[in-house]
Amino acid sequence: MLYEGEAIKTLIPQRDPIMMVDKVWSAEGDTAVTGLTVTDRNYFLEDGLVAEPGLIEHIAQSASAFAGHRARVAGQEAPIGYIGEVKKFRLYRRPAVGEELRTVITMGTEVNGITLVRGEVRSNDELLAETQMKIFCE
């Protein structure tokens, strides 16, 4: 485990109630694994399940946390990232309160500060959602 709880706040600018990452399990090369335990206080809950925008936000914040970690390792401040585009989003199942999400983030091609990011959200190895997004970091 690289980061948990309050330490996540050193990586991303989001704060409660919209913090959608509570762990960074690992980060190596172009891949990181993050986590989120869905609580009954989750801002994106609808009928006891995390809504689609919440999963997209979780993936985006996971990518942001990864970028923040990389910046820290390089001795720089965590960058502010903006979602430029969400593409090929697939939702297979919305997670419920109590589930622990594990998300694999893969950083891909970067062109002029815009990075192609792929995210896969799983719960107990079951693929819940996946997407590509483009993130602009400043």
């Binding site: 430029g84 585009e85 891909g108 091609t109 970067e110 062109v111 002029n112 815009i114 990075t115 192609l116 483009k134």
Partner: protein, 80 residues
Amino acid sequence: MTKEEIIEKVNSVLAEEFEVEESVITPDAVIKNALELDSLSLVDLVALIDQEFGVKISNAELPTIKTFADLYTYIESHQA
């Protein structure tokens, strides 16, 4: 891969990805105009060339690739 094979594959995958007729992809056509690229879709182009040909276009070299002829030549000279 020969130059002819590169041209055929580039035209096919770009037409499909960017939803344009292959007829708009001619050697002298400007890529940005033919594919209606913006700063976001430019990332898709670079990623697609990497995925399909294993050729990474650097940020420094990207501005030199203006036409499809430039792209064919770049891929041909950088393929493994």
